[in-house]
Symmetry: C2
Subunit: 135 residues, 2 copies
């Protein structure tokens, strides 16, 4: 899917949003397979993402739509939206511009348990101050 | 990480479980990069997974620990547990035996929006009745 689309009716019929009206969405870089982040979408975010082809989440901290990259420029172009068996999780195949993580790392999953310790396995590629304006 | 480990203290200190004591966990096949499923873990499931090297989730429908593959034999061996920037999502690199999905498909994300329709993009590899006993 590379053309903007209207959400198919059977999509929303089969999605199970939680008590807050949200569903978890995993963003994966479409060509490398790298899992970039997990965020949340409400019905409006799903519809906007499909309509525009640019990924829009719902920010739980801000209580508002979160058009990924609106401030930082690190947008996610939607390649394909997938739904799991129970309809309670989404997988977004995306093309990530720059970095997904607000820390300046490509992926938000940059810490791992290795040899009994929680260690950083990826360094920032970009200075966060450059993404969000100087602090 | 291929050896069983005791959870590092700084792991639990940095994890943010939700109001039900749960955190979403994405399982990804470690070598192919395929995203297999999204499920939930509580503190005990995280600790057991790290201690045993076999992935254990928390079943929200059953309200109990869910040792993946206990009934079906389709176990997930933990390769590495990763934590995201906010500590509110986990990425599990796993080695999946057989299929991850209870429908007999490799991945739970077997439906996609394509050309404005929600379509199945993967067929079952195994008869679910063979996984869970005949119906």
């Amino acid at each position: 899917m590379s053309q903007p689309v209207t959400p198919p009716p059977e999509l929303f019929a089969g999605l199970r949003f939680d008590a807050e009206g949200l569903i978890p969405a995993v963003a994966q870089q479409h060509d490398t397979g790298e899992v970039l982040m997990l965020a949340w979408m409400n019905r409006e975010a799903v519809a906007e993402t499909l309509a525009t082809g640019r990924v829009c989440y719902f920010s739980r901290s801000r209580g508002a739509l979160w058009r990924k990259g609106e401030t930082s420029g690190q947008v996610q172009r939607l390649i394909e939206l997938r739904v799991d068996c129970d309809g309670d999780a989404l997988l977004l195949l995306v093309d990530q511009t720059g970095v997904a993580c607000h820390t300046g790392r490509r992926s938000c999953f940059f810490r791992a348990v290795r040899e009994g310790e929680l260690v950083e396995i990826a360094a920032p590629l970009v200075d966060p101050a450059a993404l969000y304006g100087s602090g």
